[in-house]
């Protein structure tokens, strides 16, 4: 039966104008979303390149100034911009700490609309002053990004519903079901085979659409072949979910309209309602501390600290006798006091930061635990992680930047307290930021679990339809 179903299902699909139209729509959706994703990645790369170029230009200027100064020439620059001062280098020539896009970044915008992809940590800045959020189009935030993940998670199920809602009911409505049911076949098997074949052909269409899109856009998917295979794995597993739902609904023996509404109801539930409810619940259960209140608290603390900066500096130097030994001038200025007080500010603000981070972690852990409630959330999370645009990825980037900011300060602070000039020779020792992407290892496990759940749904449909098959048959005919 399978080979006949396979052959004739293909013939029926190829002869159906509706299916031809759906295939063209699918191709256009993949093409347009792939293009959008690529444009976003290109803009992100261009922004990072522009920031690096700016740093490069500033560095060239700095090196020219240092060269002139070291040759004993007079330079026409303000005193507070002369780079022999390590604090000038630290503040006016910061390095770019950039989060380079991953090879699969084009598939999911994820949190990329909300967060910046590079920062320039300054020597006098504190960790909280590092601004990772980015103003973006409110319209885009409202509607989301039309990227591949949007097409896969939101639109592909609708195409699957259009592809599968009436596999059995159309036979009933056209009258061919009685003839079919009189053959030595089991209707459940026949429906399962029909859906399997539609799943197969839609999978072929999706893979072709994806390959065509990537080829046209010049995205070198073959260089990241494993990632590409995993992406295909996620898409097919997600499709399998929707075909499992279609199987269950088809066996319910309703008419086509009822089936379509039932499947659309499941789409609204799993794609819209569950994710938004979980999101709302996570912010209700674990509300983030007010950023405004934190800034106020930080300012108050800084003002307090500023009043007793001399005492703080004395304590700091007592704790760091090496600076007194290396520095013969013992000159102390604004930056000496400021940098010494920074450590204290950092320690005092630690509980405030921790409260913020703890809530964020609790939110993430809560969503992580409940992501299995909806395949849409699981797949969105997985695609975001593949693209390197998940909340976790940005958090990973933020932590690396905080570490780098500390490295940047630690490199320049000894120059300050030793009252040592920054020279051209020191330039090459300046710390550089290198982004280490978060390793994604759980994908096969997630794929396995999703596959198991989808196959379980098929099994439930099959077992329950066995129990009610007589009743169903009568209802059907």
């Amino acid at each position: 039966m399978f080979s006949y179903n396979f052959r004739y299902e293909l013939k029926l699909l190829l002869r159906s104008k509706w299916i031809q139209l759906l295939s063209i729509i699918l191709l256009l959706l993949f093409g347009f979303s792939g293009y959008n994703g690529k444009e976003k990645v290109a803009k992100r790369k261009a922004d990072i390149v522009a920031a690096k170029n700016e740093v490069k230009e500033n560095d060239e200027m700095m090196l020219r100034l240092l060269d002139s100064i070291e040759k004993g020439m007079e330079v026409s620059a303000s005193r507070w911009t002369i780079p022999t001062n390590p604090m000038v280098v630290g503040n006016y020539n910061p390095r770019v700490a950039a989060m380079e896009p991953q090879s699969m970044a084009f598939i999911a915008t994820g949190q990329a609309d909300l967060f910046t992809h590079y920062v320039k940590p300054k020597v006098t800045g504190d960790d909280f002053a590092l601004n990772f959020t980015e103003m973006t189009s409110p319209v885009q935030l409202l509607f989301g990004s039309f990227d591949l993940s949007f097409v896969i998670i939101y639109l592909l199920p609708l195409i699957i519903i259009a592809f599968s809602y009436n596999v059995l009911s159309s036979e009933k409505e056209s009258g061919s079901l009685r003839l079919l049911a009189s053959q030595p076949i089991r209707i459940q098997n026949w429906v399962l085979q029909k859906l399997s074949l539609r799943f197969f052909w839609l999978s072929v269409l999706v893979i072709i659409a994806l390959l065509i899109t990537l080829s046209i856009l010049g995205i070198t998917w073959f260089s990241t072949f494993i990632s590409f295979l995993i992406l295909i794995g996620f898409i097919l597993t997600y499709m399998l979910f929707w075909f499992a739902f279609a199987f269950l609904v088809n066996l319910g023996a309703g008419n086509s309209a009822k089936n379509a509404i039932s499947l659309l109801g499941l789409w609204v539930l799993f794609v819209l309602l569950v994710p938004s409810t979980l999101n709302q619940l996570s912010t209700t259960l674990y509300p983030m501390p007010s950023r405004t209140l934190m800034i106020n608290e930080m300012r108050g603390l800084k003002a307090e600290v500023a009043k007793k900066q001399d005492k703080i500096l004395d304590n700091f130097l007592r704790d760091h006798p090496e600076y007194a030994i290396n520095d013969t001038t013992q000159t102390r200025g604004f930056y000496h006091r400021y940098m010494a007080s920074q450590q204290l500010v950092k320690e005092e603000l630690k509980p405030v930061f921790m409260a913020y981070e703890n809530q964020l972690q609790k939110q993430q852990a809560w969503v992580e635990r409940l992501k299995w409630v909806s395949p849409a959330i699981t797949i969105q999370e997985s695609l975001n992680k593949m693209a390197g645009t998940s909340t976790g990825d940005y958090e990973h980037f933020r932590k690396q930047v905080v570490v780098f900011a500390e490295t940047w300060r630690s490199f320049l602070t000894p120059f300050l307290y030793n009252n040592q000039n920054f020279t051209q020779n020191n330039y090459h020792d300046l710390p550089q930021f290198e982004f280490q992407p978060k390793s994604v290892t759980e994908q096969p496990k997630i794929l396995g679990i999703l596959l198991f759940i989808a196959l379980s749904l098929f099994s439930i449909g099959f077992i329950s339809s066995e129990k009610v098959k007589r009743k169903s048959m009568l209802k059907l005919l």
Binding site: M1, Y4, Y8, L12, S174, S176, P184, W190, R470
Partner: protein, 238 residues
């Protein structure tokens, strides 16, 4: 070939079929006559395994229909009142598909020979079913039965809506099948066609088999008279 013993079917306490006993042997054509709701279609649905009986048994080729539903369907073919096939497939493709899912792999030559035997005109073999008349679709249905090598044929009002020529051709096809030893059970309202093709005729009312004849033992007029009196209808004098 078909043996029905004390077959009863109730829907929510309402009797649809009441203690039906019936036998159709190899090569016989048994026509079940009766008004709407008499239990003809229920009998066929039971034989097809579409519904379960309240009590009684039905055997096809000595296999219990309700215990071996899938096996019994290997031996039977069914043509409903409106035989609907896949409109976007041709006659040959429909025949190939239905015989294929029934487990018969046939060459194109065999498929063509079955369509010819069923009386479908050759220029329609490669045409899509969408433009076929009911009579042409019935012929494809007969071709499916032939291709399946069915030993039992179940027909539910197959001639309703057919023009006299098509109805006559259909009767001829049934006769040919009976010559091959196929046992046929046909539910119909068409007394004329029943008298013409049947070897046995039964009249049903309220789920019971009220009358049963050998077709050759009764004239068309006699059949009509018996039918009307069984149904408690008055014969209208013309």
């Amino acid at each position: 070939m078909i043996t029905i013993q004390n077959l009863t079917k109730k829907y929510n306490g309402q009797i649809a079929l009441d203690q039906l006993n019936l036998k159709v042997n190899k090569g016989e054509i048994y026509c079940l006559l009766g008004a709407n709701g008499a239990g003809k279609t229920t009998t066929i649905n039971l034989l097809l395994g579409f519904i379960e009986p309240t009590s009684g048994s039905a055997l096809i080729n000595n296999l219990n229909v309700f215990e071996k539903a899938k096996e019994t369907k290997k031996f039977l073919a069914y043509i409903p009142e409106n035989l609907m096939l896949y409109p976007s497939l041709t006659a040959i493709e429909n025949l190939d598909y239905f015989s294929g899912i029934a487990g018969k792999r046939l060459s194109k030559e065999s498929l063509i020979s079955f369509l010819k035997e069923a009386g479908l005109q050759e220029n329609a073999f490669e045409n899509r079913i969408t433009a076929f008349s009911k009579g042409m679709r019935q012929k494809v249905g007969i071709a499916i039965a032939l291709a399946k090598d069915a030993r039992v044929l179940l027909l539910d009002e197959p001639t309703s809506g057919l023009d006299p020529k098509a109805s006559n051709e259909f009767g001829q096809l049934l006769h040919n099948l009976s010559q091959k030893g196929v046992a046929t059970l046909m539910a119909t309202h068409d007394l004329f066609r029943a008298k013409e093709v049947a070897t046995h005729i039964g009249i049903m009312k309220d789920g019971q088999l009220k009358e049963e004849f050998i077709a050759s033992d009764i004239s068309l007029h006699g059949l009509e008279k018996t039918y009307l009196s069984t149904m408690n209808y008055k014969e209208v004098e013309l």
